[in-house]
């Protein structure tokens, strides 16, 4: 929407907004509407010269300005906001459905009541053709949410896939997120002394401690708008030649580059959290993937496979 259309819709909203809040402070209204006080006063001045045909004193929108407070005394017929457009109804209704479907979410009852009311107010534009189902274990997420709400520190047993280790650590929970197909606990990790996103399906056990969660003031929520995994240049860039059967990795892992090669192969470059993780990835993908670089990875993959094979030439247990 253009800036000018923004102003027109803002003006059409402004009269009913003020009408329902007689005597509101101009500064408060400006803050609520997301405009500067000066802009709001300018809007009020413009409305003052608008009104019903005739455009005489009794026809124009009128308001009482008492110091910093404003009250609409005549609305010229625009006493209600414009109904929701199709896109507006879609954005709110689908988001409420997503909230209602989020496993472990709090206040589900309020979400469902709000959804019913918004759908009813949206009238013909309600019922966008969108169905949602989000993954996750509602009891588990509910329990973790409880810890966040009660501000309880947690002891968690966490599996770190990047290093293939399970560790115990104490964390100060901050929030629970569902991003794409996964749920995360965001918390201050006292071990790492940093904010970490813990995949809920990798928290093997957790217990509330009798301690208050106290993330330090420098603990900031992670920006997850572009996803949870943020590759950094210090992470090793690995390049793999991938045949048809493993091309799915380009949808699963964030890739830096994917190039078609002659035949069925793709040349895929991605950042690995470390080479140990990359080795497990490549071994797990098996013959559909060949490492192109870096040379250390080619070597470690080959060496690991040969060492593993040696294990099968030994007599195996009894």
């Amino acid at each position: 929407m253009s800036g000018s259309a923004d102003r027109l819709s803002r003006l059409l909203n402004l009269v009913p907004y003020l009408l329902s809040r007689p005597g509101i402070a101009v500064a408060e209204a400006a803050g609520d509407l997301g405009v500067t006080e000066r802009q709001l006063r300018d809007d009020l001045e413009l409305l003052w010269v608008c009104g019903l045909p005739g455009y005489g004193p009794g026809d124009l929108i009128d308001m009482a300005l008492d110091g910093d407070r404003v009250t609409i005394t005549y609305d010229a017929g625009i006493d209600r906001p414009l109904r929701l457009t199709r896109d507006e109804a879609l954005a709110l209704v689908v988001a409420l459905r997503l909230l209602a479907e989020t496993p472990g979410v709090g206040h589900r009852d309020a979400i469902e009541r709000a959804l019913a009311k918004i759908e009813s107010a949206a009238g013909d534009e309600a019922g966008p053709p969108v169905t949602v189902r989000l993954p996750g274990d509602p009891d588990r997420l509910g329990a973790l949410r409880g810890a966040v709400e009660r501000r309880c520190a947690l002891r968690i047993t966490y599996y770190t896939a990047a290093r293939d280790v399970t560790t115990d650590r104490v964390v100060d929970p901050m929030r629970v997120l569902v991003v794409g197909d996964r749920a995360y606990l965001e918390a201050w990790c006292r071990r790492a002394e940093a904010v970490r996103l813990f995949r809920v399906d990798r928290i093997d056990a957790f217990a509330e401690l009798a301690e208050v969660a106290a993330p330090p003031s420098r603990a900031r929520p992670t920006d997850v708008r572009d996803g949870v995994f943020h590759a950094t240049p210090d992470q090793p860039l690995i390049t793999l030649r991938v045949s048809r059967g493993a091309r799915w990795i380009t949808e699963y892992y964030p890739c830096e580059e994917v190039r078609d090669e002659p035949g069925e192969h793709w040349l895929v470059s991605l950042r690995a959290s470390d080479l140990g993780w990359a080795r497990r990835l490549v071994l797990g993908l098996g013959p559909d993937v060949t490492v192109v670089g870096p040379p250390e990875l080619i070597e470690t993959v080959g060496a690991e496979a040969r060492t593993a094979l040696a294990g099968y030439e030994e007599p195996v247990g009894c």
Partner: protein, 330 residues
């Protein structure tokens, strides 16, 4: 938009809301400030007509329901009015916890278009007298990203109009062009799909939105079909259901290693040469591929089927990742 144009448009809305009769362009010009012109001067009149057309388009873009009709059977010129009942958001009252939920919902979108639509919807709710708490949280927040195809596809479903698009899965070498009567859009396990009747295959199909290449184009007439009343999730979920794990394998895991394997252990028996770990599985080849990822930390003891798959894969991997030249023993 200039201040004078904004003023003119506000006056136009108020004028058309207040009239019950349809007003012709000439009547509007004679009434609403800003449309003054000489109807007898062809150039001036034409300028007015262009201005009025632009203004009508602007109002329609905002969602103002402009009605067109004639005031009487003798009128030849079309007239305009806005029915207040069509214009206004119906009465809506939200309890504080409901308003908080709406505020949180509006923050869910990470997609610019939907985020803008959500915030203009919130502005209208505020104008209806609802106070929305911007700070409220629900403890668990979904972060939702949609693919570019989301908006054109939901629009096409509502207009019941077929679409065509190029589609490429990772196993395809080239995109294929599909024609679809879309029935609905589904979010399943965090991914977006469209389900509909594939006109090329003459069968129901679902497509992942992230695999749509380029634009979604509409084809044919609107209201061309009626989506069946079916559970769309079931079309998508059918391809993703997990298999029941009924078989058991025993693997030897080096002490203190293979944490990822131990997490799925049904039983762990420590021994001198490592821990014997029992795993349940559904597909021998799938289990083998997963175990190979753990390299020398794991040796499959049983069943032979899994063991053979693992050995075969390890040979294949070793063959294409040769020992570096300088390390070849003399």
């Amino acid at each position: 938009m200039s201040r004078s144009r904004t003023e003119r448009l506000v006056n136009l809305v108020i004028c058309l809301l207040s009239t019950r009769r349809f007003l012709t362009a000439a009547q509007i010009a004679a009434t609403v400030p800003g449309y003054e012109h000489d109807p007898d001067d062809p150039r001036d009149h034409e300028a007015f007509q262009r201005k009025f057309e632009r203004d009508k388009a602007e109002l329609r873009d905002l969602g103002v329901p402009l009605e067109t009709g004639t005031a009487s059977v003798f009128d030849t010129e079309p007239g305009y009015r806005i029915a207040p009942g069509e214009y206004a958001l119906p009465d809506i009252h939200l309890e504080p916890d409901e308003a908080a939920a709406v505020g949180i919902a509006a923050r869910t979108w990470q997609h610019a278009g939907l985020a803008a639509a959500a915030s203009s919807a919130l502005a209208k709710l505020r104008a209806a007298g609802i106070d929305v708490d911007r700070q409220a949280t629900l403890g668990v927040e979904p972060v939702v990203r949609v693919d570019p195809a989301f908006e054109p596809l939901t629009g096409a479903v509502r207009d019941r109009q077929a679409v065509t698009f190029d589609y490429r899965t990772p196993s395809d070498d080239q995109p294929t062009t599909r024609r679809l009567q879309p029935w609905g859009v589904v979010c399943w396990r965090g991914r977006w799909y469209v389900v509909g009747h594939d006109l090329g295959r003459d069968a129901p199909r679902c497509f992942r939105l992230s695999r749509v290449v380029g634009d979604v184009r509409r084809v044919g007439a609107p209201a061309a079909y009626e989506p069946p009343d079916v559970d769309l999730i079931s079309y998508v979920a059918r391809w993703s259901g997990p298999r029941e794990r009924t078989c058991r394998a025993t693997v030897l895991v080096a002490e203190g290693r293979g944490a990822g394997i131990r997490r799925y252990a049904e039983q762990v028996v420590p021994g001198e040469d490592g821990d014997r770990v029992v795993l349940k599985y559904a597909d021998a080849e799938g289990l083998a591929a997963w175990l190979v990822g753990y390299g020398a930390d794991v040796v499959v003891l049983d069943p032979p089927e899994v063991r053979d798959f693992v050995v075969k894969r390890l040979h294949e991997i070793a063959a294409v990742h040769p020992v570096a030249q300088q390390e070849v023993r003399a």
